[in-house]
Symmetry: C2
Subunit: 336 residues, 2 copies
């Protein structure tokens, strides 16, 4: 009842010392086979659970990692998380989750709390306006760090993310191949690497394809914000025939907004998203998008972190997942 089973208890019952039980727990080859079996049986009998907090005091690994994401509503982050959790679960590790709500102050508090809990490493999707020196600071604290999806303080830490430059290119070439010449981009206002990367891809693609920049409209990162932006897009001096969106959430909102304005997405205006959230296929018309495989990115981030925890001095690595174009109805048929 009140008494928790400790190494000491197991040792007493099995008639050996704590040290020996400890060796058995850690599967050391030093213990004799017979002893190991006996001890393991006692551990099972008593329902012994190793206290990892206590163990961490002496060795160092807590087998705990922290993940900081800026929100938990967009299912992109969720799938990402599930990839991280999958890999960490395999390694008998445990995941601390926290939501920074894109607020750097909250993010600092979270990291402080994580430190107090002795995490071995952190997967960080940095909040907007995070101090670029943060990753460096984390490393000084002896924390393994991997940035994911967004990146600040370039080149200081490992990184896992999607290749949005390429993804934007895929989407743009698709639109151009359908005959679109004037293409707008529905962006977010927040200054993150995610935005910069997409804009860079856009510029490259515009040059490469010779298409016309149909205007860059900024919306709040929510479907409502995107819906409201529909009017602004329709009022652009030279109305674009297609809109590429920052992500599927905005694309879905834009389609709803277009409908409110009496336009049919995919017919009156082509719409393409990025990320290929599950909802892309459920919309009507279904949404053409570029799949970025968030769960896979989560797995890669987790593996990078595992590697970094094993060797703090290994060279910096980047794992970049390329997107895959999913052509559906919202990009419409070939025009003109």
């Amino acid at each position: 009842m009140q008494g928790k089973v400790t190494l000491q208890d197991v040792a007493r019952v099995a008639g050996v010392s704590r040290a020996t039980v400890s060796l058995v727990v850690r599967k050391s080859p030093l213990v004799a086979e017979a002893t190991r079996l006996r001890v393991e049986e006692v551990m099972a009998d008593l329902d012994y659970v190793r206290d990892i907090g206590a163990a961490r005091l002496r060795d160092k690994s807590s087998r705990t990692i922290g993940v900081v994401v800026p929100n938990l509503v967009n299912s992109f982050f969720t799938e990402f998380l599930s990839g991280v959790e999958l890999v960490m679960g395999e390694g008998e590790r445990v995941v601390l989750l926290a939501n920074s709500q894109d607020d750097p102050i909250r993010q600092d508090e979270i990291l402080h709390r994580f430190r107090g809990h002795g995490v071995d490493g952190v997967i960080l999707c940095p909040a907007q306006d995070t101090d670029p020196r943060l990753p460096g600071r984390l490393r000084q604290w002896d924390l393994a760090v991997v940035q994911a999806l967004r990146e600040i303080g370039i080149e200081e830490t490992d990184f896992a993310g999607g290749d949005y430059i390429d993804a934007v290119g895929l989407a743009m070439r698709h639109l151009v191949s359908l005959g679109h010449r004037r293409i707008a981009f529905l962006s977010v206002a927040a200054q993150t690497s995610a935005r910069a990367e997409r804009l860079k891809g856009l510029m490259q693609a515009l040059i490469e394809t010779g298409a016309e920049n149909g205007g860059i409209v900024e919306a709040e990162l929510s479907w409502e914000g995107a819906a409201r932006s529909a009017a602004r897009i329709l009022e652009l001096p030279a109305r674009p025939t297609a809109v590429l969106c920052f992500n599927d959430v905005l694309a879905a909102g834009l389609m709803a907004g277009l409908r409110q304005a009496g336009k049919v997405p995919g017919r009156d205006m082509a719409v393409v998203g990025l990320d290929d959230l599950p909802l892309a296929e459920l919309l009507h018309p279904s949404l053409t998008s570029v799949a970025m495989m968030p769960q896979r990115i989560g797995e890669l981030a987790a593996r990078l972190l595992v590697g970094r925890m094993a060797d703090a001095k290994a060279p910096i690595q980047r794992s970049i997942v390329s997107g895959q174009l999913k052509v559906r109805e919202s990009s419409g048929n070939r025009i003109i």
Copy 2:
């Protein structure tokens, strides 16, 4: 660099004993104001971070709780999580997250791991086919337990969830008020309390409204599964005029499936979902659903757990959130 700052270090620099610093850390009223200020300054200077694992060895609280969910893809769970995380963050607590993938074996492993990490309590959304004795076992391990969203071993633990009996009633009365008399239910096969509750609500509502049971069709819990079920629903001997769905994911899938079969949801067949996921508003036609406020449920579950950790002997409590009907387009206009 390598040296971590400990209580000892702070004590030496501030010229007091470890015990005093410890009292300051824990905001004990026993220390003199002047001493407190000096120590706090030194703590800030040295960037001291309290090691919670070490602290837990003596007191007991680890300020860590675990959350087990059966999946991370449905955004319902994600929003739920974000409610939990919100409340725990306020209390300087930390959340361990794990995904059981609806597998009781994995779930056992997770709970074992959580125990090893010394969690103070667990919020459990039990996996399918979980041994009903599990909650009792958890309590024997001195863990505070709250079940959420699903429930097994009734009455053994606190519970937070949505009132789906009532939610189904709201949806059914809405459909009946529109003139529907033959209403089908699109369910899932898995035997969970979530399913039982909805079916109970359905039966009550059928009696209450005098509507006809239009058939109960079972689908896999995924939108693809629901899409495939559309054909089966259309082939029912007496075709229903409306379908109430287990949740919005199935409803969205069903609408896609109806479209594939050449039917227009909301016109040829009314569709109503449950949960009111964000996607409900983005679909076309937008989906009539019953909002269950998962984030709020998460908050309530978290508060129940906090209460339970404070007092293990308090009477069992249940926090039930009632749903709110959101009438949109998919339920169509009044018929006949």
